[in-house]
Symmetry: C3
Subunit: 422 residues, 3 copies
């Protein structure tokens, strides 16, 4: 596919060549949008880096930054090597799993993808940017106590196998897709899947030292609120690519609707979390507002295209309300999550997937409540069990948690022999 | 409106269907650009957050971040609920004010907007991103001493009523538009309007403790220059959407000219402020360069489409020169503005609106100097009087200013029971 | 050039008007992409600012931010005034140098550029964003000891003369282009040219006080790793515009391939540098990963369009491996580069230019190894000699290096009478 600029100058165009040229013009615009969207999803990795490093203590900042840089590198390379072909096999091979070819196929590079709106390479890079997101969600939840190399092994397996297999069930036209399960941009396939893996990691690892004591729960404050706020804004910004690009074309009605529902859900999430947080904690807790925004974004992700504008406000508001409730719940269960990743990605991911059945307005393709629940449970059980087993295997082989001394001193000194600030 | 991809395969295209398809291709590209521009304007809210939090003291950082997150949330939701219909009534109802319908109209969602280059939803989200900007400008000027809840009430009224009414006068085809007043992307309608409200707030609130003493003015330094610099760069970046999207299509000549004038004005603003600042203060004051860039951007905003390339350098240079003069002037008047918002947005907003009459090169639609002055004064008086009254009303009812003890201790502890750093 | 929206409604379209309209639609999309790419390249200046300010000590942060803001301002204005016409003369005037006209030509503003895919203004602004990059590379290498005004004089001459002349040799259709030298987006023309100038500056200036002592080399740590990491992510993000925009159209196959090669090279650079760094230094050194990413990006820049997907992984991996080796080498040579700019931009820039000959897969236009080497040497010698002479001239006239006391105290106090944090 090559654009036709000035080709007409040389021949007398026919109706057929004109219509082909128009199709190419549409193709060019859609392809461009998915590439820009891929760049926006890329910036979410900076968003996660900033959010997570802002929410941890200053002694663990280099460690979280190092992990997030390695995650995007590992994510892109494993997705190129195996993940993309595992998730999008081209021809369906049973619905649950397929034996993938390795690496991209150089011969089909010029061809359009199966969706017809962008090239094979665009298809790859947009999906590749998604692939590492799940591991990034985990990295925040297990922060401040996991061994660096142990985490990198987990991330490698999670990104190259667990995420693509679950994703294949729906987006690769596997069994969940055949069932009628609906997940537009990944409230379940990306966010709750990341959240379930995070939960498994939290359980196997245990809480940070000093978090839950006999005297009760101790709040461990993040070290840098501007950094965390920067992360929230950049994640919101990137979500326009995450959701907007999931339209998989530049279709004006589709993309513009998704921009509106995504924006209003984020805004309503902020308000829902701010008010609920104020009622519960009697102060204006900025971490609630931050996670409320993210909860609203996660919540609308499954149905950003099929939920009405007014519905998106309700979906975001409820997601925001869920945030302080979930954070309190996880702390009651002594599940220590330094950045609130399980509240944001697991709880609001589940909520958003249910919301599709409650608020979806398009007849075609929206799952029933039972379809949605089946999908939530199937993805949850598969991811949680495999992630738990993987974390456990790492624990009994190479070790999962840093020593008590290293945790005290901080992982920056322990794993990197340096400090984040001087 | 749905894009036509591969529809041709099924029918023999006619000249009419071909021309419709071409129009849809153009529509798709323009719609996409306005959505990308909306995302760029969104990132300006991160820019303002970073700039303002960098320019305040570390004891007030959480507070400014909290306000900026709530502003974008309130701005989007109120604009959805009432602001958009108030500002763009569809049919003109007298030129000064109209009774709006509430919420977006689901029935016209698929239709093209009145401009014909993008959908109704795109129209909404691009304008919604603008709506909260004015309140953000105010938040910097009244920082470090205003009560959180008092500010949020002000922001709610300002964004949902004051901004849309003034905006309607010009962009909703109201009386200023009929008069011939020209304001391309909002030097007056966004920036000086925000600046006038900021000035009202500064006057009603009074200066920060210890700013103006018997011994003279005391410079209160911002706590984090990299954060402020990050804000300036992100604002500049977002301005490509603010001005570039205001072309309201992807028209190549229009958008590319606006990119050039916007860039050169920002650059000239930096140089103008750097040189003038060095002459006045005998040192290389980075806050002057930062505000010089922003002043250049504000200055070119009213005429980015109609001012020549060379003219844009002059407009930006003068805006930059104005910055150190205005900062000094406001300090002489004991009007305490921690971030220089009045110098940047009010002074350079007025300058830019005048500059349209002096440097505009297009015959069609550019206001005369008297048209421009009428618009500046009308918007200024309306905004200043209403904002002053609103701040005053808040002051005598719920209280506007934190206690002297809270101001001393910082608003982060006072309003949020936490610190930005640990 | 004006887009045709709804023009068809008024006339009966002919085959000729239809084909013209399709060409305009394609033109509109390509023009839009190059403008978005220009904005992405702009954000690289924030990336450099954050990276460099994170890697210096806290006493020199305001200084580096000030320099980076002035560089983009000077870069845009000098490129408008002289650089653009010097680099793209329109008609070739001998291949080595031409006498440029001053300022942009208002008469050809509406016309398409010589490439036919975007306007004259788009051409200017995209190239203008590149122009200042070289000076930014230098600013990191000479940080913490160069006089502000001396650096600004260097930047002024470098950006307005040295960079455009070298660029003209290839991109302005000069003698290197005629030879067959290939450099897609500037591994040599931007990065190694910036690197050679940096090396000249380092040599003339000498190392920072206390860097190389009798007891050996002392590592001087950067003051803020999250800031540096932010810079790396933003540079990667901006590189999608730097390389993706260098396709000079929205050609789907071209842009999407460049996105993939750029992404995988950056990822492979991270892995290559992480592993090599761990072997060499026995710790997980985050600065190696950061510079490994940047090295991968610089390395793929010369051939992002002609190197295969698998080849891009190899090119990036080798670039990453080169980083710890180069950093160690420069330190052995007592060439003190606080941010590793010479390792990233000079070494990987040379490597990437060679890689085109080794991994290039397109027959048309890719230089032989000897063509590539001639280009590398010619650009290197010209830039190094002129930059060395310029730095030396500044040294003996206005002075190049701050006093020993100022270096000790920090340039923030010395040049700006303030500190970055309070």
């Amino acid at each position: 596919m090559k654009i036709l600029l000035f080709d007409f100058a040389e021949t007398v165009p026919t109706v057929e060549s004109l219509s082909n040229a128009i199709l190419e013009a549409e193709f060019t615009t859609s392809n461009l949008w998915i590439l820009v969207a891929a760049a926006l999803v890329f910036i979410m990795h900076l968003g996660f880096s900033a959010l997570e490093s802002g929410f941890v203590r200053r002694k663990n900042v280099v460690n979280i930054l190092y992990k997030n840089m390695m995650i995007i590198a590992i994510g892109l390379l494993t997705y190129w090597f195996v993940g993309f072909n595992l998730m999008y096999p081209g021809e369906n091979v049973g619905g649950y799993f397929n034996i993938p070819k390795l690496m991209l196929n150089p011969e089909i590079a010029d061809l359009t993808s199966s969706y017809g709106n962008y090239t094979y390479w665009t298809d790859f890079i947009f999906q590749a940017m998604f692939a590492a997101t799940g591991a990034t969600i985990v990295s925040g939840a297990v922060a401040e106590r996991i061994k660096l190399e142990a985490f990198l092994v987990f991330a490698l397996v999670f990104v190259s196998l667990i995420y693509p297999i679950v994703g294949f069930w729906k987006w690769g036209a596997g069994w969940l897709d055949a069932l009628g399960f609906y997940d537009f941009a990944g409230s379940t396939l990306v966010h709750s899947v990341g959240g379930w893996a995070a939960l498994a990691g939290i359980i196997v690892l245990g809480p940070r030292k000093g978090k839950y004591t006999k005297k009760g729960m101790r709040a461990i404050r993040g070290h840098n609120m501007p950094l965390a706020a920067l992360g929230v804004f950049l994640l919101w910004f990137g979500w326009y690519g995450f959701n907007g690009g999931s339209v998989l074309s530049a279709d004006p009605a589709g993309v513009s609707k998704v921009f509106v529902t995504t924006s209003l859900a984020a805004a309503a999430g902020a308000i829902g979390a701010a008010l609920t947080g104020f009622i519960m904690f009697k102060t204006h807790d900025i971490s609630m507002v931050m996670n409320g925004i993210l909860g609203g974004l996660v919540g609308i992700t499954a149905g950003a295209d099929v939920i009405s504008i007014n519905g998106s406000v309700v979906v975001g508001l409820i997601a925001g309300i869920l945030i302080p409730l979930a954070v309190t719940f996880f702390d009651k269960m002594k599940l220590d999550d330094p950045v609130g990743a399980t509240s944001v990605h697991l709880v609001c991911g589940v909520w958003g997937t249910i919301a599709v059945a409650l608020f979806g307005t398009l007849d075609d393709g929206v799952g029933t409540l039972s379809d949605q629940l089946i999908g939530i449970v199937a993805c949850g059980v598969f991811t949680f069990v495999l992630s738990f087993a993987l974390f456990y295997l790492i624990k009994v082989t190479m070790g999962l948690r840093v020593t008590s001394e290293e945790e005290e001193k901080g992982l920056d000194i322990g794993e990197h022999e340096m400090t984040a600030y001087s």
